[in-house]
Symmetry: C2
Subunit: 430 residues, 2 copies
């Protein structure tokens, strides 16, 4: 039986015959031509032919100009692409479904469904949510990640001091800044050694295990070597700017048997791709489905709460893509060859890490939206705490405890000084 991956496009055009356009995509991006083929050849080529699954046209309510240019008339078009047409890797799939087509007018890739057969070629996250929790010994609450306040131009002593300040507050993960590259002041192996030593000192006081996600950077073919050197120096997690290197490079790092630490995917450059309504790739595909498929154990993305804002429904769509163990939400239609069974995801779940502008007062909102399988990620909310970074970490942990106990932050803050100070500084939205 043939197997298909399914792409959903939103396509804006004031006048196009969208059904005709859908047919031309399904043929043009697969067998090239169809109606002029002899019947015998058609029979032979049918297994390579793209299939139009649905065309849902939305006519503009008024029929006039919308605020976005044009009338706002669009169609959501679903096309099934035979797995037989591409190799089982993300570059081949993306080039097939959105290579040339991305340049063909106002069109956005809004969903992408991987066939069970295609997915079976991917190992996905090596640790995932449960694996990361196992490493930290924390299973019952949201995790807490913090980031350095500033890194460029700082030497090892300064960086280690910052690291210790964060670690002392009881955070679970600390990540490098994504713009910290190989540099003479804090080269990766020395940085890992110094920071992991600070982590050990902090653990002696807090009892808290800690993952340090060190930024893997530089020439593409040397990334795995660099990661292994960092791990050799003691690194127990990696940070990776996935979109600067492509999804297959993440997959290779994640699948490497010698890289036995979780990988946190940074969304750097993602804003060049997801925010336009007319062009690009939806955040749920880019930072959700593809990151998980490629093996990210944790995925950072702009939260709907803070300074870098992504609409809440997009955040929820990313979350769903990262954590769901059932794939029915991708369906709503039957792909050719689909036997109707609801497949269970063969991939471990990735930890969602909504980021930017997070302070302790937002923890109730984060838990309400994401549940406990979330990483609360803070920079200014830790370092900007009136009593210092360690107190900032403690304020977040207290906020997490308060939410677990069902106690409003303002009330919990009365008996927990750090949280109280944070709520006074930033407010609380509980």
């Amino acid at each position: 039986m043939n197997s298909y991956c399914v792409a959903t496009y939103r396509c804006y055009d004031d006048k196009a015959d969208f059904h005709k356009k859908a047919q031309s995509i399904a043929v043009g991006l697969t067998v090239g031509s169809w109606t002029d083929l002899p019947a015998a050849k058609q029979k032979e080529m049918e297994k390579h032919l793209g299939q139009v699954l649905s065309v849902d046209v939305t006519e503009p309510p008024g029929g006039g100009e919308s605020a976005e240019g044009g009338t706002g008339r669009y169609a959501d078009i679903r096309i099934a692409y035979p797995d037989a047409n591409f190799s089982a890797d993300i570059p081949a799939l993306l080039v097939t479904v959105f290579g040339k087509l991305s340049m063909d007018g106002k069109i956005k890739l809004i969903d992408l469904h991987f066939s069970p057969s295609f997915m079976s070629r991917f190992a996905g996250p090596k640790y995932g949510i449960e694996g990361v929790r196992d490493l930290l010994g924390v299973h019952d609450r949201p995790l807490l990640m913090s980031i350095f306040k500033s890194v460029i131009g700082h030497d090892l002593d300064e960086l280690t001091r910052q690291f210790y300040g964060q670690a002392a507050g009881g955070v679970d993960l600390i990540k490098d800044d994504e713009i910290l590259f190989e540099n003479p002041l804090t080269p990766i192996e020395k940085r890992v050694e110094a920071c992991m030593e600070a982590a050990r000192r902090a653990k002696a006081e807090t009892g808290q295990q800690l993952l340090y996600a060190v930024n893997v950077t530089g020439p593409a073919s040397k990334l795995a070597d660099q990661a292994k050197r960092a791990i050799g120096a003691g690194a127990n997690a990696l940070l990776f700017n996935v979109l600067a290197y492509g999804f297959d490079t993440l997959r290779e790092l994640s699948a490497d048997p010698d890289i036995r630490v979780p990988i946190a995917a940074h969304p750097a450059l993602a804003g060049a791709l997801y925010p336009s309504p007319h062009y690009g790739i939806a955040a749920s595909v880019l930072l959700g489905k593809l990151m998980r498929l490629a093996g990210a154990d944790l995925v950072l993305f702009p939260s709907p709460y803070g300074s870098v804002v992504m609409p809440k429904e997009e955040n929820m769509a990313i979350r769903h893509a990262l954590v769901t163990d059932r794939l029915e939400a991708d369906y709503g239609y039957r792909a050719p060859g689909d036997d109707g069974a609801v497949p269970v995801s063969p991939l471990r779940a990735s930890f969602p890490v909504p980021s930017a502008g997070i302070h302790p007062g937002l923890v109730p909102w984060i838990v309400r939206d994401f549940g406990t399988d979330v990483v609360v990620n803070a920079g200014g909310g830790v370092h900007g705490h009136p009593m210092g970074a360690a107190a900032g970490g403690r304020a977040f942990r207290q906020a997490i405890d308060a939410v677990a106990a069902g106690i409003p932050l303002e009330e919990y803050g009365k008996s927990h000084a750090e949280l109280g100070a944070a709520v006074e500084r930033w407010g609380a939205k509980s």
Copy 2:
């Protein structure tokens, strides 16, 4: 003396204080904080501090709503980033200047200037325009490239027949379809052997040397091996879907001393990044400057003439980025540390390949816009010729000859049957 790479952003906001925003970018994406640093620390950190070079605000003419949403108020902001802050590779530069920032509202990276010091770390195209011309022995006219009509589901015999048909028309280059991946019917080494044999047969008739750009695909870390196997089987050029793998992977392929063939960069997925006025990366940066820096010998992009349309000024900006030997157009301002000399590009020029919807009647326009250092790239314009693909190639060569001789295509077509038929079929815009 410090050295800086310079990013120019177009930033839309109805109310923002753009000067303040520019300062916050220059500080936030470099040293992190500035005004709260002690004076001694500021002195130490100054070499890492981003510099605002200019902020040009364009207020909306009417002050009201524009057709694009918002008032249309925007600013072009130039920021200089110290080379000291990032390693000398494209991922590090892009993550620095547009990693986090890409997600911060309506902002597009519209230009990127590499410091001479940064550029000096790149070899650029191994062949470039002159090298490709040398390989083909053609120095005085636009080159002609053709592409397969359809590839998926075809076996070696069918593919070879198509190849020969194109080659027999006297084309200079034939490229794989970008959606042809490793597959059981036409695996890369067998495909190369069969097609290069067809190229030899055609050359015996036409006398025309020919480059066959075979598509390098699959796992990221195996691309170089695959390229070398293809070259071992006789391939004399490569096609590469750069944006599916990242610019550094192109750079590594291009810099590999064992890959001694030109590389043609395909723009697949580029439409997810360049067309929006509000988000993404300008085509001249994405398909121009970065492709050349990373070592593409030929760069395909949507032409302004045909079916997949890019505005003409964007095409011209790509062309300039690919071929200019002087970098003054990147300036218009003085970067800190810039001694005022106009640097000459240390990189070979890349061949511009405007593509999609090209027929012989467009050759005069292409030459008018691009000069003779251009590759005329045709698919339907070759295969759809009323007298067949070989005649299609000849029609293009005749059109190129006519333009060189300053003879209108309609006139030249009277004595050259293939061109005459093409002009009758598609018209001529001379």
